[in-house]
Subunit: 185 residues, 2 copies
DNA sequence: CGCCCCATGTAAGACGTTACATGATTGA
DNA sequence: TCAATCATGTAACGTCTTACATGGGGCG
C-alpha cells in the first residue's frame, strides 16, 4: 500500500464522516456553525478534499436523487478510511506537533475515543503532557532572557503563549484524571 | 497605491526587520530557535517571502561582501514598509481573526507597541476582550447542547478550547491593567 | 582533504482562498 | 415570480512544504 498523505482538512472530514455519513454541504454547515470553524467551510476546499479522499479509496459517495429531491451525494468511510483514520490518531506525538499543529492534535484527540478506544486517548494525553512539560521551561527561559530587551507588548505576548501552554497542561492532567476515574468504574 | 497583500510570514518578517536589520539566514535562525517557531524556518518559505517584500518596496536588501567574509544580504524596512506594518497592526479586529488567526493577532500585538504606540496595543486588547466575551458563551452553549451525543474525548476537546479562550481573556484583562498602570506613572 | 556550518536560492507539488458558475427547490 | 437556500462544482492564484542545488569558509 502506498503511503497516503492526507491534509488536515481531510482528516477532519474522515473523522466527521465516521460519526455520520454526510454530504459536502452537510460538512460545510458543520464547519460554519460549530466550534470546528477553525476549518474552512468554503466549497473550494471541501469538494476537492472529498474528491481526493474518494480517489484514495478512503470514502465512498453515493448519489441520492429521489424525485422531488435535490441531488446530493452522501459520503461514507470505507474500511481503508477507518484504518487510515485510526493510524492518524495513533501516530506518535512529537514536539513539532504540539508547537505548530496543536489544532490537529486536539482534533486527533477529539476523535480518538470512538475510533481507537480510550487507551489511544490516554496515550495522546500522556505524550502531550510529556511534550508540554519539557517545552514550558524553555519558554520561561526565553522570557527571562529577553526581559530587558523586549518591548512590553512583546513580553506580554510571550507570556500569553506561556500561559496558554500552562493552561493546556493543566487541562491535560485533568483529562487524564477523568480517564483514570472512568476506568475504575 | 495598490492594495498590498502580505502573507502572515511576510508580516512576521516585517516586524522582525523593523527591530533589527537582518539577513534571510538570521531570520531563519530566529524562527528555528525562539518562541516564533510557529513560523517556518525553511529557506523555501523565507527567501521567496523576502523577495516579494522587496518587490513590493517594503524592504530593501544590501549585499555585504567584504573579503574574508561570506556573501550575505541584509534587509531593512523602507518607509513604506514601516507604514504597511503599522496599517497591519491597526487593522480592526473581527471575530474571524480571533477564531482562525489567533497567532496572527498575537503577533500583531507583540509588535504593536514599538511600531504603533501603546494606544494601538490597548486598542487591540480591547477588541480582543470584546470578541472573546461574546464568543465564549456560544462555545458553552455548544458544549451543553452536545453533551449527550458527544464522545467523552470530543467533549473534553471542546472544553479544552473553551478553557484556552477563557485563559486568553484573563490574560487580556491582565494586560489591559498593566497598560493602565503604566499610563499613570 | 573532508566535513560541517554559513548563506542563498530554485523547482515541483499540494493545498487553501477567492471568486465565479450552475441549476434545482422552497417559500413569500 | 422572485429571492433565498440547497447543493455542487471549477479556475486562477498565492503560498507553504519538501527536496534539491550551489559554493565559500572554518576546522580538525
Amino acid at each position: 500500500m502506498p503511503e497516503l498523505t492526507i491534509s488536515n482538512l481531510g482528516c477532519a472530514l474522515l473523522g466527521l464522516l465516521r460519526q455520520n455519513p454526510a454530504s459536502g454541504y452537510d460538512l460545510r454547515k458543520i464547519f460554519s456553525t460549530t466550534a470546528m470553524t477553525t476549518y474552512s467551510d468554503s466549497p473550494g476546499a471541501i469538494y476537492p478534499a472529498l474528491k481526493r479522499l474518494q480517489q484514495q479509496g478512503l470514502i465512498r459517495g453515493s448519489v441520492e436523487s429521489g424525485s422531488g429531491m435535490r441531488r446530493r451525494q452522501v459520503f461514507r468511510l470505507t474500511a481503508r478510511g477507518t484504518a487510515e483514520l485510526k493510524r492518524w490518531i495513533r501516530r506518535p506525538l512529537v514536539r513539532a506537533d504540539v508547537i505548530r499543529g496543536l489544532n490537529e492534535v486536539m482534533l486527533r484527540f477529539a476523535f480518538s475515543e470512538p475510533v481507537a478506544g480510550p487507551s489511544a486517548s490516554v496515550r495522546l494525553l500522556r505524550s502531550l503532557e510529556t511534550e508540554l512539560t519539557s517545552y514550558i521551561p524553555e519558554l520561561h527561559e526565553q522570557l527571562s532572557a529577553g526581559k530587558a530587551t523586549m518591548p512590553m507588548s512583546g513580553r506580554l505576548a510571550l507570556e500569553s503563549g506561556i500561559k496558554s501552554y500552562e493552561c493546556l497542561l493543566q487541562w491535560t492532567r485533568d483529562a487524564l484524571r477523568t480517564y483514570e476515574r472512568n476506568k475504575k468504574e
